[in-house]
Amino acid sequence: MIRFRIIKRKPLPGWAKIVIPIAAILATLILAAIPILLAGGHLWKSYYYLFHGALGTRYNLLETFVKASPLLLTGLAVAFAFRAKFWNIGAEGQLLAGALTATVLGVHLGSIPPVLVLPIVIIGGFLAGGLWASIPALLKTKLKVDDVVSTLLLNYVMIHIMGALLFGPLQQPGSSWPRSSAIVEAACYPILMPRSRFHLGIIISFVAMLIIWFINKKTTFGYQAKAVGTNIRAAHFGGINTTSVILWTALISGGLAGLAGVGELCALQYRLIMDISPGYGYSGIVIAMLGNLHPVGVLFSSLFFSVIIVGAQTMSRMTGVPTYIAEVIQGMALMVMLIFLLFTEYKIKVQRK
């Protein structure tokens, strides 16, 4: 009888850290052939339109960056939190908190000097997301409430807060739809490349990535977060204030997600609607895992996902494969990445007895 046993293996050399995610992406793309074929799409044509739709023309390429921006931010938010083992599944709600605050500020700040408006909106959105994330962090550190469940539930609370406001005080006067008034001109992100939607938020998200990389690698706080995420008991023993570390991690993580919300509002929609986020907060989880929780990894994996999402639109138009294939590929990518990560530490031993 053949038996499989999973046993520890010798650690892989450093290059594995880069090769593994790339291999996972390739494997995912290959697996994506299954749903494509099931949808009756012609395989090579589908792949072609997928990539062409994302990278083939100048507009498409810039659009890919536009789509990557919120994904990069939520991916960073989740990666930063997971690194300290703060299981932030609430990036979606934190994103909405940021968008909501940006709306309130962006609609009502018309009378102050225009040059101040955008910074206030951005900072406000960041703080809103950060504060929303600090609630489950407080619950976790002071009351031992599981962060997975609490961050999840708070997503729905925030959705309903948004709904209550959009059908209430924030609703555009005269409209019967749940939408807000438009934000003032000064609160809109400037478009940086003509004839495209390439906006300031993209630069902000890239800068955010650099800042997070710097925090992680060079600061005492980054070291403390890493220690807390590795072994909270030993970190506590070593004198680290673990409560403070988790709270600040939540603030930054939620703030990043909040920035994603600000971006969607101030660069694309210009007013708040219920569907302002198609699940970016949840995608952030996949992106963070695929990027191995490292900022640069998150950058590349957010680009990968953006290619898939943007490309899927074109692919869908040209081949009839439903756009939801993007979500299917996301889910598959996560599982493939997990499996590949596993095999960096373990291997299968076949025993014949």
Binding site: P35, V145, V149, Y156, I285, L338
Partner: protein, 316 residues
């Protein structure tokens, strides 16, 4: 307004709504209790419920038979439960992330398949949903007769499953094995219980229940499939498991409270209470969080929860 509250029709309507709204959560929570008692946290619950809802709907639409739809939903739930087992039990991957991966994958898959099957019609396809069944004698009792005993068959099944699961867990040899696997898999292994098999079976059976819970929403509660049909009820079920201290009966009470609030907010709107219905929709989630705070103090977490079990971990 008080008069309206005390109106018997209102009360009995509210009771009925409570049971209805609680049903999918009861199914899902029972499924989750089964898997968590065996030591696995299944965060794929929301995705499994959605796949169950979609599968049940599609199969009912194509075959004309509602029960076939329920059956198909259960099968899909089992398959996804099995996938979760492969990832978290056999491969020993992080349970948190495997489960979320399954939710993301299953959510995308559900929408993908639905769109494949139906395209984007202007009028959403509908089916003939379950009809409520009035229990022979009991439904004649005033007030609670129409409230409690005129329900969908699936709801009655949920009621029966609660004591059934309790008996299984606490009074049978299988239940003792499951609980031991969840508390201390080393112990179970040394007395000859196959830890991986037990966890896999619990995941599969739990998945079936979750699938049925999801199908309830498209086959009884409503008669169509919408993307947000589950609406976070899977996560509420997870919270109810914690709230109920991993006990089927207590988790069901939590589900009933949720169902009560869900039903209440609809009714309050209809009698003209002017409060944004969104605020009402928020209350169940807030209450769940508050309940979690109270419960986290004295939680009887299965001690082996979240830890993958591998025999040859240590060296010598």
């Amino acid at each position: 307004m008080i008069a309206e509250f005390l109106d018997l029709a209102f009360i009995s309507g509210l009771m009925g709504a409570t049971m209805r709204m609680a049903t999918p959560i009861i199914f899902a929570a029972l499924g989750e209790i089964l898997t968590e008692r065996a030591g696995v946290l299944n965060l794929g619950i929301e995705g499994i419920m959605l796949m169950g809802a979609m599968t049940g709907f599609v199969f009912t639409y194509s075959s004309g038979s509602i029960w076939f739809g329920v059956f198909a939903a259960a099968c899909v739930g089992m398959l996804l439960g099995f996938l979760m087992a492969l990832l978290s039990v056999n491969l020993g991957l992080s349970q948190h992330v495997s489960g979320l991966g399954i939710t993301l994958f299953a959510t995308g898959l559900a929408m993908f398949i639905y769109r494949l099957h139906f395209g984007s019609p202007t009028v959403p396809p509908i089916i003939q949903p379950f009809k409520q069944v009035a229990l022979p004698v009991l439904s004649k009792i005033p007030v609670i007769g129409t409230g409690l005993f005129t329900q969908y068959t699936l709801t009655y099944i949920a009621w029966l499953l609660v004591p059934a699961l309790s008996i299984l867990l606490y009074k049978t040899t299988i239940g003792l094995k499951i609980r031991t696997v969840g508390e201390n898999p080393v112990v179970a292994d040394t007395v000859g219980v196959n830890v991986a098999l037990t966890r896999t079976l619990c995941l599969v059976a739990g998945g079936a229940l979750m699938g049925i819970g999801g199908a309830f929403l498209t086959l009884a509660h409503q008669n169509m499939f919408l993307i947000d049909v589950i609406g976070g009820r899977g996560w509420v079920a997870i919270a109810m498991v914690i709230f109920g201290n991993w006990n089927p009966l207590k988790a069901t009470i939590g589900a009933l409270i949720f169902g009560f609030l869900d039903g209440l907010q609809l009714r309050l709107q209809s009698i003209g209470v002017v409060l944004s219905f969104h605020l009402f929709l928020m209350i169940p989630y807030l209450l769940t969080i508050i309940a979690l705070i109270g419960v986290s103090r004295r939680a009887a977490v299965p001690a082996g929860l979240l830890k993958p079990y591998r025999r040859e971990e240590k060296g010598g």
